[in-house]
Subunit: 350 residues, 4 copies
């Protein structure tokens, strides 16, 4: 089969390889659609994901939907979510949580596999979804309901990450929200915040095309930080109080500081963007304003909510899909996503 693999040192190639065999507890899945994520771009350039080196030879990719073609031995399907049936069989369409907890550490036994100390990731430490087939542990999988298209289903995983970010913010109905960065993740976070009852969602994004996408989706306050004083605007829109919650989805010193300045005293700042190195931040307002800077990682029992949001039409994850390509053009897709701010989300289809 075709698979796009990382071989170390910027060497990423589409190669022919064996179709994998499902081991104990695993499913073999034919990939129908798979999205290109910032993680993939980072690995192809830097060879790691947040300091965790990608395994040379690994098949990349982790946002995907596919058909179950074979069920390995000793598979059990758990009822993970109230929103989603667990009746999976050969022919079922599934998506999967790409982080792979060890199962036995302090965090895993407490159900916190997303911050497992020995966590692995599809497409980083284990073969991922930029391929015709993938094997994946059955307990990571969820059934994709019929109402959801393949195109949409490729967006379940990033949406679940956004749900996690909003959970971490402890947002409540009526809160005012700032989202800094309107890439695919920022837009998903904004959508989830709006559906959690935000009174006001303010988005800040320097790139006009991404601002346009957000405005087209229906967001009424999409600011250009190059033209507007974002903190000043937040203060004006909140009558001098500041945002209850800010999501930083850019990962830059400047925007972290901006978020600290724009959130009200006692508010929360969820750090979604992963800086590429140390950032320089003024923590003084955080300290005396009793602000909380909150980390968030991946998904944590959030697939049920994400699937339900898409299935019921409350979130349209396709609004950021700007390009759809066949798997054979995965390298072009990655190049596109790296080089153009107008390539927001690139999806590969079988």
């Amino acid at each position: 089969m075709k698979a796009c693999k990382y071989f170390g040192n910027h060497d990423v190639r589409l190669v022919d390889t064996e179709v994998p065999r499902p081991e104990s507890g695993e499913l073999l899945v034919k990939v129908l659609a798979t999205g290109i994520c910032g993680t993939d771009l980072h690995i192809s350039t830097h060879g790691d994901w947040i300091g965790k080196p990608a395994r040379p030879g690994v098949t990349m990719g982790h946002e995907f939907v596919g058909d179950v073609v074979e069920i390995g031995p000793d598979v059990q399907f758990l009822q993970k979510y109230p929103q989603v049936s667990s009746e999976i069989s050969v022919g079922s369409r599934i998506c999967a949580e790409p982080h792979l907890p060890c199962g036995s550490c302090w965090w895993c036994i407490r159900g916190q596999g997303n911050i497992c100390s020995g966590i692995g990731h599809l497409g980083v430490t284990r073969d991922g979804s930029f391929a015709e087939y993938i094997t994946v542990s059955a307990d990571r999988c969820s059934l994709v309901p019929e109402e959801i298209t393949n195109h949409e289903a490729a967006g379940i995983e990033p949406l679940a990450c956004a749900v996690r970010a909003v959970h971490r913010s402890r947002m409540e109905i009526g809160d005012t929200v700032l989202v800094i960065g309107a890439g695919p993740m920022g837009q998903d976070v904004a959508k989830v915040a709006a559906l959690s009852g935000a009174s006001l969602v303010i988005i800040s994004e320097p790139h006009p095309y991404r601002r346009k996408l957000a405005a087209d989706y229906g967001f009424s306050h999409v600011l250009d930080p190059q033209e507007t004083d974002v903190v000043g605007q937040v203060m004006e829109l909140t009558r001098g109080i500041g945002a209850d919650v800010a999501f930083e989805v850019a990962g830059l010193s400047e925007t972290v500081n901006q978020a600290i300045s724009a959130v009200r005293q006692g508010g929360r700042l969820v750090q979604v963007g992963v800086p590429t190195g140390a950032v320089t931040v003024d923590l003084r307002r955080l300290v005396i304003g009793e602000i909380e800077l909150i980390g968030e990682h991946a998904t944590h029992w959030d697939f049920g909510t994400a699937i339900d949001l898409i299935r019921t039409g409350r979130v349209d994850v396709t609004s950021v899909i700007t390009h759809t390509l066949p798997l054979e053009q995965v390298l072009e897709g990655m190049e596109l996503a790296k080089s153009s701010m107008e390539a927001v989300k690139v999806v590969l289809e079988a």
Copy 2:
């Protein structure tokens, strides 16, 4: 002016009385619309509100909107909410939080005036809104934006109570929710839960007309507890897990027990309905399921959110208004609300 007063011993009459004068810190407000609440009905029948005796001679009513006609001495308008302007002047339309904290107890100095140990209430301990004019402390008032009609504005206070109930539930996007009782408060709670991102809102209500109103509003799971096993249905709809959150809005032993049975282990049950006396409940499932039974009272900085939900059209509070009458027919209005389950919310207009 005309005012509907409670004189003790079931003696409620529409009488002529003096227009009140605003004292220090107060506004004089011409009432434009005012809703009849269960509290008013309870007082007219029982003479108290949750054990607090109504003051004989008190003007009843507390859900209202009106025009500011005079501003008393030493008035200061605080910026209470990011969503609502504090620019109030003569001619402004305002609504008011009807609970009247003492301002100096342990709770008040901690900003928890809704559970103040010496709390008063408009329409119970102090003259309320079933009158042509009312005086009210300026710091209890919020400006009603132009987009909101008088009819809608009468529903701000109950909606704010529903916002409080949902806050207390610690609900998050994706939660599954059960609401027991579809009177005006139950329907408001269901609306707020849906807008807070509930994956599923299940409503249980024995009266067909109230079920119809809920279904007409768009709720897809409205159960008749006389025909359906509510707990069984909740379990089926949540794939055997139970509701994350239940709101009991009936105040009966049977429905409290039902709620305890329908919520999942680790879930929360917000007790919105105030029982008229002791209830008989089986707490065993609550104990071993680590369920929380959570009290909630009135509003707690929730008017900004309620106003914003109405102003933006996200909540239509008029869906439960079944009757609109002139103030002169307040007694008929109360009789109607007591006698007919089809009189869901009765609003009096000037």
Copy 3:
């Protein structure tokens, strides 16, 4: 070996039985000391534990310490707690968490095995510790440090339950606390609350000997509810505010109502006592005071803390041990615990 078994219908006998064999993942443990708990007494009288029928033929008992004598196949010792080494081998002394989660339900996969929907219990659904030997899943076990005597170690499990109760209360340093009931569990809860920084711990207990034990331990406010108005005393001691947190450890209508009356508005009431049937409670103060009535069950990652509290001498769990008997006298021990309020905790030793 000798084992004390429940055979149904009040039939509890000490019988000879086979020493069990450790299965996959299990340890065979020689019991050194084991405490008699209210659960055991309830089963011998009623045949169930909170509605879950005891399995006829089951060996009773679940609070124990013992020596590992054999390690079954496929055993892995997890690092469950920062406070306790996981280096267990043949000859190690261990204690065990007696609740047995299913491992695959909604709660278990979220690390909430103590509220597992299919939970089992040592001594109820699976052979327990009133025997010379017991087999137990290795992942339920913790090493008992050398500093802890066998006598003390029998008290680890109940102390861990008390830690869970205090966790559930969300108590903080400076809180004022009421504990209703000074049996073994009530006294453990009071000890843990004090060590969590309570400004004031008030204990209410009708039985003079139990009050004496609490006073001897160092508690300065131990009330006799037959002589004292408990609610009035709490109000006086908290200057009219009420307790921040109450723990109800009696399970009676009267004391649940007392706890609701004694806790301040906005406070928390943890229901530790399991009523034997429905209780009659006045929820009105709970509703309008926004009080939370919080269930709590067993232990939830609390053994590390309990072991550490005993090891460092911060808690003396032996203060409530009034009788120590050999295993052969288990029936006498249970009779004693049932019949005499002066038999507070009875421990059986090998």
Copy 4:
């Protein structure tokens, strides 16, 4: 009277000035003892406190105890704390919360005066306690119980700050705790954490004398970061898990990063130290480990707890008092505190 005033530009002098008169709601207090805080040193050097300029001419100092000598008009003593009587009269000894909320902003009306947007401070914006007399708003004051000496009472305010820091950490019994920095505040935080039930308190401090004071107080794990790998030690002491909670009380890039590295995934880091400018931090572990970096400021209804901890002998705040001087030597005292790491807490007595 004598008063130590800041006149701008490093100009701090002991001068003769008028005894102030109590205005409406105020008390006139004869200062008995007053501690020198880092705030005072910072103002004398930099002229501001966390960016808020000190008012030229202001009397410095804010940690104090004194005798009420006159009660101004319209004074009301609120029952602020269950632990402390509010019966204050002329001759009573009182301490005071030095932050001065505006009373009308979004935060103040919600009882969050410590993060008031227009907050003032004794000794910064309003005349403080480095004087023979001070006037202070009665609602800021608490009665000092007889059991507490003047020497101890000067330590109430910093201890209350430490209580606030621990509250913010959401610490629970059994948590493992790291405190970076063993100045007066770090030691107070360590004491409060221990009394909140920490299983383990690890202190890191480069200065031998401060380490000695901490060890003399009874802390068993006091590390020298110049000799020890602090993060490595924390990991070893917590069996590879990391600290549940860290308190950074140094305010340096290096130690903030150290704290982020030493806290476990999912843990909390309370930033107590206020950096003098921007810090350079690697947030990547915070993000993927879902760590929370939590601001904390001053005191927030914490005086009752602090007074109670001292009154009952649970905390000895005098352990860090290395020097006691008469008010006349305030300048020498400040010089000492600036120049010598062995001058930990300097107290001025009348």
